[in-house]
Amino acid sequence: MNLGISALNYVNGIKNNEFTVEEFISESLDHIKQVDEKLHAFLRINDFAIKNAKEIDAKIKSNQNVGKCYGMPISIKDNICIEGSKTTCASKVLENFIAPHTSTVVSRLHSEDSIIIGKTNMDEFAMGLSTEFSAYGPSKNPWNNDFVPGGSSGGSGVSVAANECIASLGSDTGGSIRNPASFCSVVGLKPTYGLVSRYGLVSYSNSIEQIGPMTKTVEDSAFLLNIISGIDPNDNTTLDNKNQDYLSDIDAGIDGKKIGIVTEMANSDGLSTNVLDATNDSIKTFEKLGANCEHVSLQMVPYTVAAYYTITSTEAGSNLARYDNVRYGYELDSSGFEFNSYISQARSKLGPEVIRRMILGGFVPSAGHAGKYFSKALKVKSKLITEIKHVFEKFDFLISPTVPIQPFKFGEKINDPVSFMMVDFNTVTANLTGIPAISVPYKITNGLPIGIQIMANNLEEHSMLQAAYALEKTVDLPEVQI
């Protein structure tokens, strides 16, 4: 059985009786057992997966209504809650946290009869871009196990790339879906802020983050977006997309479309030669497809990484304050402790990167420093929104390499905080402005993947997916060897 098929082909396979849900799930579980000890994409496997598979098979057999997913195995990043099971955010402070509620995205997947195969590894509380900050050890890049898979949704990226599941849901605060998508050679989509409900997503930086699909094909991302998007009474920030069908006319092409190549991203200091070559190549491809490409400058881009880290640290400092171990957490008796020292004791379980962000988050919005850091960051964000708005009056899409570099080796960047931050250089713009962005696998150079990022205006996922689909159809990448 080919576990590497797309979601749409999986659905066809079930419909054509090529395999049963149980067969596919049980083979997937076997495969996970074989490869995941090495890859460590998963933090936990759903013990009820086979049982769920049997139930859906029974529904199919008895001609009952079956949801669009037909039992397809989907993995979920471990910062998205499912009632009655653990959600750890790859942190020790939530080691024993069992969610009392199910996120809207998982509820919607459940009602379409998908099977949640397991919860995937990530950087602790989604702070990081390599999974090296997971409290439970990093995930490995399936293209080369010495290299990071990207992050923070690294486990999700690996699980899809290594065919451990059909698709995955990650979350993207500054590139956390698109970065591992690029590093693992899968498709990763960060939706418009508010298109997908954040109910049940453990907040890190709630003003800019979104849940989104990570899939084998562009069509699969459209397929999943159809299911998870739209207004939700449990999230005041969600938008009404009028049940748009993102799969329709996905093959419409991009003839005559105007594409802006973001100068600051396509020529940044940290850009590697391989990535530059791939990007220039992709521009030629877009032109061959009938699009007009031209360079466009976004003046705020050089400030976005600093603005991004300032805003996310501030919000993280607030969002993570609740982990004081008073109401939930791990076993630590409070008797004998004085309040402040107890909270400090409880928070000493946070990992090093989270601790640094907590300190930053205490500093940049504080009364004496907000003017220099936090207020300026918000204004950079706002000016960037205005710039982007103007640019989309002229262009249909913006493109850039998803990440300025290819996957790096474990430990290679971890000791240099500034070069670490710069890895986010091309992805944070979409988060700060709220616009959608997608990473499409484009090239494998020296055995490691390179993705191209396409950004579109607010709520323009439909046309963005058409562009991504057109690009995807021009490339023929080798299979990953696991």
Partner: protein, 469 residues
């Protein structure tokens, strides 16, 4: 000159649900930690869902206090660690990016003094702490989160008060106003709390926190002024500080504040988009705003000729003014107002009694009518009132049940006689031939009044009606 400013916290107790979740706004009836949900407990993955009516009711307060109201409101996070705060931040408001709190720059008259309102904001109440353990070592803090997330309106005044008495007067007016707006029940325990800041001529500003009731607020302010004056007399510097009201000893004590308490790292709460409140909405709120106490009072005096004293008492109490409006049919307003203020207010002098009372406006209308038409004496009316409050029966039934009917009254009897004469047309006709038939008619009247009619008077009246000597 002494300057006093207030920060009043008022729970919107008339709301059904909390500010950001569907748990009950009135937490008082619950066992500890049973009026909680993932949202008010800040469980990871939960998001605040703003209560529409809370915004409307808070806006009503702002309008009633003559505040300016914004086109958009914004919420902020105030970050600090405390066990009664499930998220370790409080969702509140701040005017950091223009005026985005519920209201600002209002005013209210207290006697001849105008008190300016600096700002009104909508925020969530924290949970409640209970301290347990006798010794330092066994000391524990227990938390009940039922209250966490209760909608709270903070009203901040300018330091426009000069005396504790003005403070007291203002609080009375404010309580009445909030009750009249039907947004809060200031009588509920903990529904209204206040902090004060006090400074005397030449001294620094001192904040007093932890004042549990309005009654104590006046005392605390009074104590603080005396304390500061005594320091000044002795030429001791008054330092700027926060003091706590010690409820047991009835004094203010210095709260050694730590530097960290001042750092709240305010930033926008992105989970709640800014909420547009358009002019249409504001107009609707204005139209449906309950009539103000002062305009009510004026109307009672000018339209119904009620004395200013009675109108004052009546209009400042939402419960009794509503009762008055319901009972009043414009012909007997004065009598109804008097009955409410002289008889009914005494009988319903507590919240519990009012809640249990079955008395309706109609009852009062009837009572006044009965007294006026001599169907019942004032003394009997009081007995009837007691009974109505208990069982809510119709007045006629109660008069019958308690035999309060006044059958020796000429008018009452005339009425009954008229009825009997109507019903017994044949006997009336026969009486012209046979005057003795009048005795039969007396019997009928007795039957109707269950023997309570005065026989001599009945006979006399009947004879008069039938033209018999």
């Amino acid at each position: 000159m002494t300057k006093i400013g207030l920060e009043i916290h008022c729970q919107l107790t008339k709301l059904e649900s909390k500010l950001f979740c569907s748990c009950k706004a009135n937490y008082r009836e619950f066992e500890p930690n049973t009026n909680i949900c993932p949202i008010c407990m800040g469980i990871p993955g939960s998001l605040p869902l703003l209560n529409k009516s809370a915004v409307e009711k808070a806006t009503l307060i702002a309008m009633a206090l003559d505040c300016r109201t914004p086109d958009k409101i914004a919420f902020f996070r105030k970050n600090y660690f405390y066990p009664d705060l499930p998220k370790n931040f409080q969702i509140t408001q701040l005017n950091a990016y223009g005026n985005t709190s519920i209201g600002w720059e209002g005013k209210i008259s207290v006697g001849n003094v105008k008190i300016r309102i600096r700002r009104i904001q909508l925020e969530e109440d924290p949970g409640r702490l209970i301290y347990e353990g006798a010794t330092e070592k066994t000391k524990l803090t227990l938390v009940d989160y039922n209250r966490a997330g209760t909608p709270l309106v903070e009203i901040v005044t300018e330091p426009d008060f000069e005396t504790p008495h003005q403070v007291r007067e203002f609080l009375n007016i404010l309580s009445d106003l909030l009750e009249n707006l039907n947004v809060s029940d200031p009588g509920l325990e903990g529904a209204m709390r206040a902090d004060a800041n006090v400074s005397i001529e030449g001294g620094s500003k001192v904040e007093i926190k932890n004042i549990g009731s309005f009654h104590d607020l006046e005392k605390a302010v009074h104590f603080e002024i005396t304390r500061q004056q005594s320091l000044a007399e002795r030429k001791i510097e008054i330092v700027q500080e926060t003091r706590h009201w010690d409820d047991g000893r009835k004094i203010t004590v210095s709260a050694r504040t730590k530097e960290e308490e001042a750092e709240y790292r305010y930033h926008l709460e992105a989970d709640i988009p800014w909420v547009r409140i358009n002019d249409g909405t504001k107009n609707q709120l204005q139209i449906h705003m309950p009539e103000s106490i002062s305009s009510k009072k004026e109307r009672y005096v000018s339209k119904y000729g009620i004395t200013p004293q009675v109108a004052d008492i009546l209009s400042s109490d939402r419960y009794f003014s509503e009762l008055f409006e319901k009972a009043n049919n414009e012909t007997n307003a004065k009598d109804i107002a008097n009955m409410i203020t002289t008889d009914i207010m005494g009988l319903l002098d507590t919240r519990e009694k009012r809640d249990a009372s079955k008395l309706k406006g109609d009852h009062i209308t009837d009572l006044v009518e009965y007294i006026k038409s001599n169907k019942i004496t004032r003394a009997s009316a009081k007995l009837a009132l007691d009974e109505v409050i208990k069982n809510g029966k119709r007045l006629s039934e109660i008069i019958e049940d308690l035999n309060l009917g006044h059958v020796s009254n000429e008018d009452v009897l005339s009425g009954i006689i008229a009825e009997v004469l109507d019903e017994e047309a044949k006997a009336v006709e026969d009486s012209k031939q046979n005057p003795d038939i009048v005795n039969f008619l007396v019997g009928k009247v007795m039957q109707k009044t269950r023997g309570k009619a005065d026989p001599e008077l009945t006979l006399l009246l009947l004879k008069k009606h039938l033209d018999i000597d």
